[in-house]
Structure formats: C-alpha cells, structure tokens
C-alpha cells in the first residue's frame, strides 16, 4: 500500500514518466495513445487515494529541498488543492479520449509532441495544486506557461506565432512584473511563503500596503484572466480544440483562479483582508470583467472566441466571490471551480466536434446543426444551462452560493453584476441552441453531408455533460472540501 506522501510525489512523477514513455513510443501511435490513457488513469488513482485522507482531515505533506533559506520546494495537500487536482486529472482522461479522436479525425501533425506536452502540462498542474508554499506554486506556474506554449503554437502558422506571442508575453509578463516582486516582498516581510490557515501577513503591513500587495498578486496571476490582462485567452484559441478544452477551460485558467483563492485564503488571510478593507476594488474589477467579457462574447461570431470570453467572465465569478470574503461566497467560488470546469470543457468539446464533423467555426453557420449532431448539441445545451446558472446543472448551485454570499454581506453591486451577467449569458448561449435546433439548415456552397464527430469525441462530451448534471444532484465532495478549507 502506498502512503499519502508517496501518492503526492507520484502525482507529479507519473505524468512526467508518462511524457517520457509517450516520446519513446512515437513510432507506434496506438501504443502511444494507450500510454496517455494509462498515465491519466494512474494519475486519477493517485489523486483518489489522497481524497479520503484529506476529507478525513489529514494534510499529508512532502518537502523536497530548499533553494534558498526559507524558500523550499514542498507539497502539502489541502482541501482546495485536492479538488483542483481531482478536476484536472479526472477531466484529463476524458480529454485524452477526445484528443485521440480529434487529432486523428483532423489528421494533425506533430501528435507525439502534442501528447508529450499535454502530459507535462498535467505534471505542472499537479505541482500547482499540491504546492505547500507560494514559491513552489510560482515555480510550477511558470513551468505551466512554458509547457503550454508549444501547444498553443501547435500549428506553427503565422497566426499561431502571433497568438503564442500574446500568450507568452501576457502570462510571463504579468508573472514576472507583478507576481515575482510580490513573492519577494512577502518573503522579505514574513520570512516565509508557506500557505497557512489564516494567512502569514497578519499585523505585518498597513492597509494600503496590503491592498497594493493584493493587486500585485491578482494581476500577477495572469492565468486568472482578470481585465485588463485577459487578452491571452482569446489568443490561445489558435490551439487545437482539445488544448482549449482541457487547458484553457480547465487546467491553466483554473490554476489561475485557484492561485488567487489560495493567496487570498492562505497568504493574506480572510480576516486580515476584511479588516483592511482591501478587496472592495477587486470586487469592482472582477465585476467589471464579468460584464464586459460577456458583452464581448455576445458580439463574437467565432464559436471558440465566444467561449473564450465566456471563460474570462466565468473566471471572474470565482475571483469576485473570493474577494467578497464571505464564507458562503467562498464556498460558491470553490464549487464554481468544479462547475465551470465540467461545463466549459463540454462546450469546447462540442465546438471541436462541430469543427471535426462539419468544419464549421462560426456561430452564424450553425443553423440546424442540432438535427445532424443531436448528441453534441444536446450536451452543448446542458452545459450552456450550467453556464447560465439554471437547474438541473451544477452552475445553478455555485451561483446560488455566490449570490447568497453577496446578499449576506450586502454587496448589492455584486448581486447586480450576477443578475446582469446571467441575462447576458442567456443572451449569448440561447441563440446558439435556438439556431441549432429550430432554424432550418441553410444549404450553402460549403455545406456537405455529415453526422456526428468520431465516436470517441461524442463519448467524451456526453460524459462531461452528464457530469454537470450529476454534480447538481451530488455536490457533496466539493462542498465538504470547501467547508474544510474555511474550517467551518
């Protein structure tokens, strides 16, 4: 029987070893894809092994070595981390099935590089999820940026190169210019960067400094896509759709908001922040991002672009809910991490399936597509309901908690934002569903007969759509973990 500590290390090393084996098996594609699936399954097993341990209240930890005094690479599994790891590793299996169908269905080049980078990206994601201090998180955060760069620029075209520049420039730029000074300053002030219940900065800084430091942190974590540093996400859409699905709807962006929540809860501490009143501006900025991104999504005809702006908006829900600092809204934030992950990955899966089967990328081309691809568009509909926040999808539950938290703390501005954005969400998702099912297909010159996408892709998107509904009825695991995080 392996111990929790070994399971932590395995969570990082299994995807690394998987990447190596995938590279070695580059000449036999079936074996290569088999290794990807086996690696993903093993990784999920490791995380599942840790889950009951953490839910029982234990916090297994491993510390590797110190780079500088008081600055060590170490891991410690706490409720939020295990939830993030669970989401990422679980969806990796589904996404791998989908990727195999997508990459083969579209006859993409450099498939080995693609799967190697994917496995490495997951290793970096696990490192972020389990990091025991801000320094370790920063190290894996930067690695994740670098590892995903080849995935974003996968096609090697002029457009991919430009997208890659924006992607790397913004993500690396913000982390170097804002997050790194914040990290050094936190270490300088408190002599540690360990994630600690209640924070490590209590009583060490005055309110203005706390506010400035928080700004450096949340803008430095560019992966959370807070405006005005959100442009990398639409730019990253030049990547093949499986990358957009797992990385730019789940792993990378969730690493962003996950880091923001971690910093707010475990570095600053909720009490320190609310005493300093340091998050009111953040509620405003996140609220603005929610509404503004939704408005952009409303006008985007390219489906992936619309989904990208929807992601930007949904990520800011998490940031805003965390910035409200109310226990209820924080629970909502944690739950939304899971809710948005399963929902948005389904939407991207559907977009990729449409591209593979029908070669269509624009919303205006989707008239009547639901009749040809009923499973795909059915799954799309369920996930869209979750995004809008309607039952029976999990998005309803998380929005409920966030709204309750906003009302409990009498943040009427936040309540208004949630209400307006719900309308906007409906405004940009419902027309797609309407076109797909109720408008007769237009017979243009580019039209050709097609059915559903390859079976593997349909299985994947059906599974994640089922997940959105399942989590609505059984949100116990994320809820319990959220309460544990807040010591409730």
């Amino acid at each position: 029987m392996i111990t929790p500590e070994q399971a932590i290390l395995a969570s990082i090393t299994v995807p690394l070893a998987g990447a190596l084996l995938i590279a070695l098996a580059r000449r036999t594609p079936n074996l290569r894809e088999g290794i990807t699936l086996a690696t993903a399954t093993t990784l999920l097993a490791c995380v599942l092994l840790l889950l009951p341990v953490v839910m029982d209240g234990a916090r297994p930890a491993v510390s590797l070595f110190a780079v500088l005094p008081g600055l060590e690479i170490g891991f410690k599994v706490e409720p939020l981390g295990i939830l993030f790891a669970l989401i990422a590793s679980g969806l990796w299996i589904v996404n791998s099935l989908y990727s195999i169908g997508y990459m083969r269905g579209n006859a993409e080049a450099h498939q080995t590089r693609f799967f190697v980078c994917f496995a490495l990206a997951l290793a970096a994601t696990m490192g972020i999820a389990f990091s025991s201090n801000l320094f370790t998180l920063f190290v894996f955060y930067e690695l994740l940026t670098l590892i995903t760069y080849p995935l974003v620029t996968h096609h090697g075209t002029e457009k991919a190169r430009d997208g890659g520049r924006v992607y790397l420039g913004l993500l690396m730029g913000t982390s170097i210019v804002f997050l790194l000074p914040a990290l050094v300053f936190i270490w300088y002030v408190s002599g540690t960067t360990d994630f600690t219940s209640g924070g490590i900065l209590a009583g060490k800084l005055d309110p203005i400094e706390i506010m400035a430091l928080l700004a450096l942190c949340v803008f430095g974590i560019g992966k959370a896509a807070l405006m005005p540093f959100h442009k990398w996400l639409p730019a990253a859409m030049v990547a093949p759709t499986p990358v957009s699905a797992l990385l730019h709807a789940v792993a990378v962006v969730k690493a962003g908001v996950f880091s923001v929540v971690k910093v707010i809860v475990y570095v600053f501490g909720i009490d320190t922040l609310s005493a300093a009143g340091a998050t009111d501006w953040l509620v405003a900025v996140a609220g603005f991002t929610i509404v503004a991104a939704s408005v952009v999504a409303l006008n985007a005809d390219n489906l992936k672009r619309r989904l990208a702006y929807s992601t930007i908006s949904q990520l800011s829900y998490v940031v805003m809910a965390a910035a409200l600092l109310a226990p209820l809204s924080l629970i909502g934030a944690v739950l939304h991490l899971a809710a948005h992950a399963v929902g948005k990955i389904t939407l991207f899966f559907a977009a990729g399936a449409i591209y593979t089967a029908a070669h269509k990328t624009e919303v205006s081309q989707l008239d009547g597509i639901g009749r040809r691809m009923p499973w795909t568009m059915g799954a799309f509909t369920i996930a869209a309901l979750s995004m809008i926040g309607l039952p029976p999808a999990v998005g309803f539950v998380s929005k409920w908690y966030m709204l309750s938290g906003a009302m409990a703390t009498q943040h009427w501005w936040a309540v208004a934002v949630i209400a307006v954005s719900t309308l906007l969400n409906a405004g940009y998702f419902l027309p797609i569903i309407y076109r797909a099912f109720f408008v007769a297909p237009a017979h243009g010159p580019h039209d050709h007969p097609h059915g559903e996408a390859p079976l593997l892709m349909v299985i994947a998107l059906t599974a994640t759509a089922a997940g959105t509904v399942l989590l609505f009825f059984l949100p116990d695991v994320p809820l319990t973990l959220a309460r544990q995080m807040l010591n409730l």
């Binding site: 320094f135 930067e142 670098l146 170097i176 210019v177 300053f185």
Partner: protein, 494 residues
C-alpha cells in the same frame, strides 16, 4: 613546507609553464594535452584552495618568502577563491570543447598557438584574482589582455582582426587608466600591497590624488568589464572571435574585471568611503540601468545570435553593477553570485552557438531556422539558458534576480524593483526571437541532413547547461560562497 602550502603559487605557475611548453612542442595534439592537463590541475588547485579558505579563512602566501608588504603577496580569501573556481572551472570545460571547434575555425598551423594563448590568458586571469599586489594585478591584466587580443584575432572572419584591434585600443586605454590609478595610490600610500594600502589610505582619505585614483581605476576597470557605455569593443569581439574563445571570455574575462573593481572598492578604498565621497552610488546605478535597458533593447534587434547574446552580456553586466550600487549585503551577494551564474549561463550559450556555427554554417537568425528539428538538443540547451537570462525559477538567473529584488526592497526602492523586472521582459523578447526562429519556422533547404555537434563538444556543453539548472536549485555552493564573500567585503567576516 609541504606541497599543499604552495598551492597559491602553483595555481598561477602551472598554466604559466604550460604556455612556453606548447611553443616548444609545436604539435597541436601535444599542445592540447599539455594545456588540458594544466587547466584541470588548475581547477583541482582552485577547489582545494576554496576548501582551505572555507575551513581556515584567508590564506596569505609570500612569493619567494619575501614577507608582505615588501614582497609580492598572493592572497586567497572567500571572494578570490570563489572566482578562482569559476575561472579555472570554465577553462577546464571549454578546453576539451575547443579541440573540435577550432579545427573548423582556425588554420591548422596556428592551432598550437591557440593553446599557448589560452594558457597565457588563463594564467593572467588566475593571477589577477589571486594576487594581493596592486602592480601585480596590472601585470597579469596585461598578460591576459595581450593573449586575448591574439585569441580574438584567430577568428576565421577577417573582421576578427578589426574587432581585435578595436579591443586592443580600448583595452590599452583601460589598462593605462588602471596603471595611473595604481600609481597615484602608490604615491599617496607608499605601498603596492592591497591590504597594506587599505590600512594606510585612512591617513590620506579624501585627498584629491586619492579621488583621482578612484576615478581612473573606475573608468579603466569599467572599460575592461564592458560597463555601458564603455562596452563598444565587446559585441564585435564576441561575434568574430572563434567560438571557444568567445565562450571562455564571456564566462570569465569580464567577471574577473568585476572582481578587480570589487577588490579596489572594498579592500583598498573601503566600501562605504567610496560611496560617500563621490556620487558613486547614483552613477553606478544610472549606468547599470542604462546598460540593462539599452543593451537589451539593442539585443532584440540583432540578426545574429552571437551578437544578440553579446549585447545580452552587456545588459547582464548591468545587473552585476546594479547589485554593487546598492552597497549592501544582499546587493553584493547578488553581484557576486551573478558573476558565477551569468558566467555559467553565457559560457553555455556561446558553447552551444559554437556547435550551431560548426554544423549550420553560421549563427544568423535566418540560418538557424528550424534548429529545433536539425539540432534538437542544442536548441533545447539554448532555450534553457535563455530562460536563465530571463530569470525563470529553476535556473541560476532566478537566484541572482531574487537577491537583486531583495536588495531593492531592503532599500525601500519600489521603482527599482519594477525596473529590474521590466528589464527581464526585454530578455523575454530577445530570447523569443530565437525560439520562434528555431521552432516556428521551417528549416532552410541547405541545412538538410545537419545533425548534432560532435560529442567532444556536446559533453562539455552539457555540463554547463546542467550546471545552469543545478545551481538554480541547489544554491548551497554559489549563494553560500557569495554571501560569505559579501560579508567579508562589507567587513563582517575576517
């Protein structure tokens, strides 16, 4: 006296003897063997000295048993021991690499001369570092400079001659300034021994000749270490010299010059005195920042990788001088640790580029298109070292940047913090010029069938690339030595 007690003398004497031996032997294989043996022995001695100093403190060795301050003293303290390890270590790694590299870049009849000059250059650099005598520093400086001019002129490209000549003029001006500075100090203190000078200077502190000496030394040494705007010789020299020479010089020559500056500032003028009498702090800060931004910006627009990374060196020297301008424990630690970290990183980069020049027939950005497919390991190595120049965690560059930022925070200078990180963004820009050329462009047809460099070049290069990562994660040796040396200079440690 046992052999162990003569290690300080042997450190310099062994490479010095190797030089004439190669001329007597005249056979390039024998010459290679002799200099290789000498450089490896030099590395072993440097490590032994480092261990001795770590245990027993500063070593003072009287040449010919003439006691200082009358005789020449060799003095190994924590700072010089660290620099000795760097210089001899780089030499020991570059030499095995140089064999295959110069075969392609230097006419065969001059090969033994390459090894002669390499041995002399190594002698000079080690001598500057180990000696405790001001005039001796000048002598060794000339030994290393003259051999460097020859080494650069060996380059295949005829522009190497011009580059060498340019450096000769600038280097001679620098050396002249240095000797004037030393002469003024001798005039005022009546001694050439650095430690003795440091004691006696208190009596004449603040007098005009001493200030003049300070000015002459600062300008002279700044020429040698290529402080912006005295760096004009460097890009040409690095671009047109044989690859092995560039790698060795980039990793050691400017670093030793920084060492000399630290030595004069802290051991002779007495640290804070320097910074109080003249607006040194402001001036160094300004020039360092100007170098960081101007040179990085120029680097972005280069079309040749050797030139691009040469300008990057000027920018990185800005970081080194910035640390010095703080005049604090953290700042000096940053300076000293970055000597090592940047030496290792840039040495690795220029060695990798040597392989690229050999196989791809040049290092222009147009020529290295698709390098990721042609030479995947070399290409990956350049990316790793590039990340170190940016300061990504897990590489040595991050460690240096950490201490620089810490030093800025200690001074409460937030604006400086942001200038430091902003200059890293420029590094992202020039490193990504390479990444896009190597990975996002199709290789040229005339480089079809090109593979990796020979193993004799790849192995030593790999050592330095791995060191770039290793010392980014295990900083016990580098930061330990640097912070001890900084404490020593600041007067904390005996």
């Amino acid at each position: 006296m046992s052999l162990a007690s003569h290690l300080p003398a042997l450190q310099v004497v062994i490479p010095l003897i190797a030089a004439p031996l190669t001329v007597l032997l005249r056979r390039r294989n024998l010459a290679f063997a002799v200099v290789l043996a000498a450089s490896w022995v030099a590395l072993a001695i440097a490590v032994l000295l480092w261990l001795q100093v770590a245990e027993g403190g500063t070593i003072s060795y009287a040449i010919g048993s003439w006691p200082p301050p009358w005789g020449i003293e060799y003095r190994v303290d924590r700072l010089s021991a660290f620099v000795l390890v760097l210089v001899s270590g780089i030499a020991a790694i570059v030499l095995p690499y140089s064999r295959a590299s110069i075969e392609a870049e230097v006419p065969p009849q001059q090969h033994y001369l390459f090894y002669t000059m390499f041995a002399l250059c190594l002698t000079g650099l080690l001598g500057i570092t180990i000696t405790g005598d001001a005039f001796n520093i000048f002598v060794f400086l000339e030994v290393s400079s003259l051999s460097t001019y020859v080494l650069i002129a060996l380059g295949r490209d005829r522009r190497a001659l011009l580059a060498s000549y340019q450096y000769l003029i600038m280097g001679t001006i620098g050396a002249t300034f240095i000797v004037i500075g030393i002469g003024l100090l001798y005039l005022m203190t009546g001694t050439l021994n650095l430690a003795d000078m440091g004691r006696r200077i208190a009596m004449v502190q603040g007098t005009r000749p001493v200030l003049a000496a300070l000015a002459f030394l600062t300008v002279g040494i700044s020429l040698k270490l290529a402080l912006f705007p005295l760096h004009q010789w460097l890009p040409n020299a690095y671009t047109y010299a044989p690859s092995a020479v560039t790698a060795f010089l980039a990793a050691t020559a400017t670093k030793v010059a920084v060492y000399v500056l630290l030595r004069f500032y802290y051991s002779v003028f007495g640290g804070s005195q320097v910074f109080e009498q003249l607006p040194m702090q402001e001036m160094l800060l300004l020039l360092a920042l100007a170098g960081m931004f101007a040179a990085s910006t120029v680097a972005i627009f280069q079309t040749d990788l050797k030139r691009l990374f040469a300008y990057s060196s000027v920018a990185q020297i800005g970081y080194i001088m910035l640390g010095l301008s703080f005049d604090s424990q953290s700042g000096l630690t940053a300076t000293i640790v970055h000597l090592f970290n940047h030496g290792v990183t840039k040495g690795a980069i220029f060695m990798l580029l040597g392989g690229v020049a050999l196989k791809m027939g040049g290092t222009s950005l147009a020529r290295v298109q698709g390098l990721g497919q042609r030479m995947p390991w070399t290409s990956l190595g350049i990316v790793v070292c590039g990340l170190s120049l940016i300061g990504v965690p897990g590489t040595v560059g991050f460690v240096s940047k950490w201490y620089l930022l810490l030093a800025a925070f200690e001074k409460g200078q937030w604006w400086l913090v942001f200038l430091i990180v902003a200059s890293s963004l420029l590094a992202v820009a020039y490193v990504w010029r390479f990444v896009e050329a190597a990975y996002l462009r199709e290789p040229r047809a005339d480089t079809a069938g090109v593979g990796e460099a020979p193993w004799s070049m790849r192995l030593p290069t790999a050592v330095l690339v791995v060191a770039t990562l290793y010392f980014g994660l295990n900083t016990a040796f580098t930061v330990g030595s640097a912070s001890n040396a900084a404490a020593l200079l600041m007067g904390g440690l005996g």
